[in-house]
Structure formats: structure tokens, C-alpha cells
């Protein structure tokens, strides 16, 4: 394929998505929305990996994307289990209302 879309377009798009995810993690207080924002950030990093992997002709980048996906799946499962346990004990999923360790 003859260089239809340059690599920097993909990288710029990935950095925009990463920034949106960062803002979500910092601003939102709902734990599930924070999870979704973390997924956004992981996706943007994956997009960067795949972009470089394709343009450099090295498939190892896509193997790493596969591992990132595995870790994201594990993180989502554990994170949601923690959120469920939190909701059962404290009836809230807002991260700033969880202040048991603070006095």
C-alpha cells in the first residue's frame, strides 16, 4: 500500500484519545467511568503500537498489543469485582466517598 495515511495521523489520534482518557480518570468520580477511561488510555496505546508495527514492518508490536489486551481483561475483571464488593459494603461507587482509611 502506498503511504495513503501517514503514521503521524494515527499517532496524533492516539494522543488525543489518551488525553481524553486522562481527563476522565482525573475528573470523574464514578469508579466505573474511571475504568472506562482507563480502557480508553489502553486503547490509544494499542493504536500507537499497531501503527508503529505496521509502518516498521515488525509484527512484534502486535504481539504486545495482544498482551496488553490480556492484562486489560484481567484488570477489568478484578476491578469490577472490587467495585461490586465496595458497593455491597458501602452502598457507593464514588471514589471520593471511600475514605475508610482517613480520619
Amino acid at each position: 500500500m502506498i503511504n495513503a495515511i501517514p503514521l503521524e495521523y494515527y499517532l496524533g489520534l492516539a494522543s488525543i484519545i489518551f488525553l481524553i482518557g486522562t481527563v476522565g480518570v482525573l475528573v470523574r468520580r464514578n469508579a466505573i467511568i474511571v475504568f472506562m477511561s482507563i480502557e480508553l488510555m489502553l486503547n490509544s496505546v494499542n493504536l500507537t503500537f499497531v501503527g508503529f508495527s505496521t509502518y516498521l514492518g515488525d509484527t512484534a508490536g502486535q504481539v504486545f498489543v495482544f498482551f496488553v489486551m490480556a492484562v486489560a481483561a484481567a484488570e477489568a475483571a478484578i476491578g469490577l469485582a472490587i467495585v461490586l464488593a465496595l458497593f455491597r459494603n458501602k452502598q457507593t461507587i464514588y471514589v471520593d466517598e471511600v475514605n475508610v482509611l482517613k480520619w
Partner: protein
Amino acid sequence: MDLLNLVFYLFAIITVVSAIIVVTHRNIMYAAFALLFTLFGVAGLYAMLNADFIAVAQIMIYIGGILVLLIFGVMLTSNITGVDLKTGSMSKLQRWIMTVISLLIAIGLAIMYSTTDWVRKDIPEVNSTVDTIGNLLLTDYLIAFEVASVLLLIAIIGAALIARHKTR
């Protein structure tokens, strides 16, 4: 503007707009469905980058697995009385710190992006990445592959253990 550019911009706009909706919408359910469109957009971009295996894995793992799990989480935790509307009520200091951190990251990325001299390079011709990825996974990255599978097993057991009802 040819068709390829048009498709790229379509996917890019879908991805960015729905990512903004994920972060800003007040209803968690709408945010979850916006995340669906973001993940589809990213999968389309993978397909445009000739990464067919990763595109399919994205749809199967993220949309079929993680997103469903997130929606389960939303349904199991939000109150039945209605939509959560609580945002805001952060202190002034917190707001300022968050704005400064976000701006710093944005400025850093913009500087990095604009000062790099980009090299235009042709994409090497590939037919399908599935063969190569399979070979790499079972030769060079075999230990990482096994560790990832053990990690997933531990995650399953741990999640079941944490989320289970205490019946004692």
C-alpha cells in the same frame, strides 16, 4: 480526498466524539454505549493498518468481554431510583490540580508531536499477520504467553473470590 482518507477520518471522528461522550456524559449507561462505538472505531483503524488479527481480537475481547462486564457492573451497582447525576462538588484546589495536570500532558504531547520531523515511509506489503503472530507467540514470546495465561487464571479466581457473597 480519496476513499481511504475519507474512511480514516470517519473512524477518527467516531472514535474521538464517542470518547468525549464516555468521559462527559452523566448517565453511565450512555457512557458504556459510547465506549462501544469508540472500541468499534479503534477496531476499524486496526483493520486500516493491515492488522486483521488485532482488529478481530479487539472486537472479541473488548466488545464481547470487557464491555459486557462493564455493563454488568453498571447494572449491579447503580441505584434503581434513577440515573446518577452526581458529578462536580470537587474542591477548588482539586479542580486546579486536575486542570494543570491535563494541560501539562496536552502541551507535552503537542510539543513532541510538532517538533518531530516525520519520515514518510511506505507500508511493507503483508498478506495476513495471523501466521506471524502465531509463530512469534509460540517461539520468541512463549514465556510471556504462558505468564499471561497464568495471570488470566489468577484473575478469574480472584474476581470470583472477591465478588462472591459471603455465606457464613
